[in-house]
């Protein structure tokens, strides 16, 4: 990763143009052509730095539901439960964390009602209580990172 890659990451975590030739439109300030910019983004994706290039959706405004859930999983069952949780396409990410509640995952669903189904199924199939902690208020959702 060089300075141009860092500039791409720092300037393109939002505000990508929605016009007929968007890469061409934003390449110049970076000192690149549209083709060069696309090649660099492709390389950053291949290298795993960029997970996706495109829209970040607002689940609730699409009519869907989003929640953070936590479970207290016995250590000896951790991998088995993680595998089951991760098998749901509605589970967007899942982290082990240092706490009695040691598994934390985000469930994002498109249809209202599906969230409750997923959480109930996980609870029934694992026998471990699932704590549902949907947001009550949102103060900041930037989730941007400086390279």
């Amino acid at each position: 990763m060089d300075d141009i890659d860092r500039a791409i990451i720092n300037s393109l975590q939002g505000g990508f143009p929605i016009c007929d030739q968007p890469f061409g439109a934003i390449a110049e300030p970076l000192g690149l052509t549209g083709t060069q910019l696309m090649a660099r983004i492709r390389k950053l994706k291949e290298d795993g730095i960029i997970s996706r290039f495109g829209p970040m959706w607002h689940a609730e405004r699409m009519g869907g539901e989003l929640t953070l859930s936590a479970m207290k999983v016995p250590a000896e069952r951790f991998d088995e439960v993680a595998e089951l949780v991760n098998s749901y396409p509605e589970v967007a990410h899942n982290y082990a964390r240092e706490h009695a509640l040691n598994m934390w995952f985000v469930v994002a669903t498109e249809k209202p009602g599906r969230k409750a189904e997923v959480l109930a199924e996980i609870e029934a199939r694992t026998g471990v209580e699932v704590h549902d902690m949907p947001k009550i208020q949102e103060f900041y959702v930037g989730l941007r990172f400086e390279a």
Partner: protein
Amino acid sequence: MELSDRDHALVSALAEGLPLVSHPYRAVGAQLGMDEAEVIGRIQAMRDGGVIRRFGIIVRHHELGFKANAMSVWSIPDAVVSEVGRRLGDAPEVTLCYRRPPRLPDWPYNLFCMIHGRDRAAVEEIVAGLVRRFDLGAYPHAVLFSTRRFKQTGARYGRPIPRAAAAE
């Protein structure tokens, strides 16, 4: 915002991201039987309607060098939690900040901040700085470092357009 079937088809076509070609919206439209102008119009409307929070690069923070992340949580009285949340949300070190319901007895905390840093010590320093700056020392508090990341695919949305509708 109410999404139409054609919007949902577009959401689905964008699940893997935007194609890296000079006319990406035309390329997406070609899969769906939509012309470039329709794709651009629908994406602009979804952005303006807040269905798209932002549009661009979504990074893998770990691969970018943010090796440590902690969910930093506090138990703040209801009367002041919104005010404290707003102040923490404005802090540049905080990458996400939400109020969520406590789940007693296991979980007394109602304010959640994500903190990302180069390593564990950096994150601990950031959290200590927030506690000092925002005078949070009196509130019950926990810092949950992540030890393993099992999955980070991002949410999947959208449904493919029915063939007949695509041909319209």
